[in-house]
Symmetry: C2
Subunit: 146 residues, 2 copies
DNA sequence: TATTGTTATACTCTATAACTATA
DNA sequence: TATAGTTATAGAGTATAACAATA
């Protein structure tokens, strides 16, 4: 990403560009800090969701996270190969796979949350605590409105 | 995008997710509001840059905007077909194409800026003016730090 | 007949390599 | 030889369609 000074104020001040830059930095930080744990930011999202809501069927997970169910297959495949989740046929409806965190999955998730916290702190390193809280609060209200 | 109440606080409060939601809403608003003008958000970015910096060669535009020069070819193709920009061989170095806004391009850009302003106001409709300014200021400082 | 998980296919976006014309 | 623009090709990511098992 090139420096913004030369783009003109109309472009460099657009919210689209500001969000994109923040998102790109945060993705980069997550990639770096999650790499030692062997998972991606997307996979962290699935683990966080399972931790809050398990047990859920694959399709419920996909629906809640806003990804296609066909995409979820490969995502769960990857997490299962790493030993972080298991698929279990639902006894009540044998078409369904219930997806659960393994013990190793919980350990990895705990480490991944710490890594993500570090990534966020690094992104916000120019802000003091009150400003960081203010940013979160404003973003939450925007998200709630959509 | 599903509502966030059911995802658990660890996931729905992550900055990655908050940014992604804001970005998705803003992309959607831009798509709707720019549609009558026949351009995309990406194309608006090119027009804004040319307005601030023209004349520039294709490769300079691509470099500044952080897109590949091969991608820029199709982008400029589209804008030229719409009559918003023209390619002109640089007399000083005939390998280069200088890209310039046409008169129609300037008119469309002015309308597109208004549409983008509306999109941003709609995204921030829950915030008062001071809060919107605060958000921009915080995002600018984050972008500057990266 | 409808639904879950799966696979195969297609489509989009972008990046890489190769070609041309100029330098 | 190196560079700007272009084209062709290939790769990731994601969506659509079709299939098997189950309801």
């Amino acid at each position: 990403m090139p420096s913004d000074e030369d783009l003109g104020p109309q472009l460099s001040g657009r919210l689209t560009r500001l969000f994109k830059q923040a998102q790109r930095q945060l993705d980069q930080l997550h990639a770096e800090l999650l790499d030692p744990l062997g998972i991606t930011g997307h996979e962290l999202g699935v683990l966080l969701f399972l931790d809050a809501r398990e047990p859920e069927s694959q399709q419920q997970v996909a629906g809640r996270l806003g990804v296609d169910r066909t995409t979820m297959v490969a995502l769960i495949d990857g997490l299962e190969e790493k030993g972080l989740v298991v698929r279990r046929p639902d006894p009540a409806d044998r078409r369904r796979n219930v997806v659960e965190l393994t013990s190793e999955g919980r350990t990895t998730l705990a480490d991944a949350i710490k890594a993500s916290d570090r990534a966020e702190r690094q992104l916000l390193s120019e802000l003091d605590d009150a400003e960081a809280a203010q940013l979160r609060s404003l973003l939450r209200r925007i998200a709630a409105g959509g």
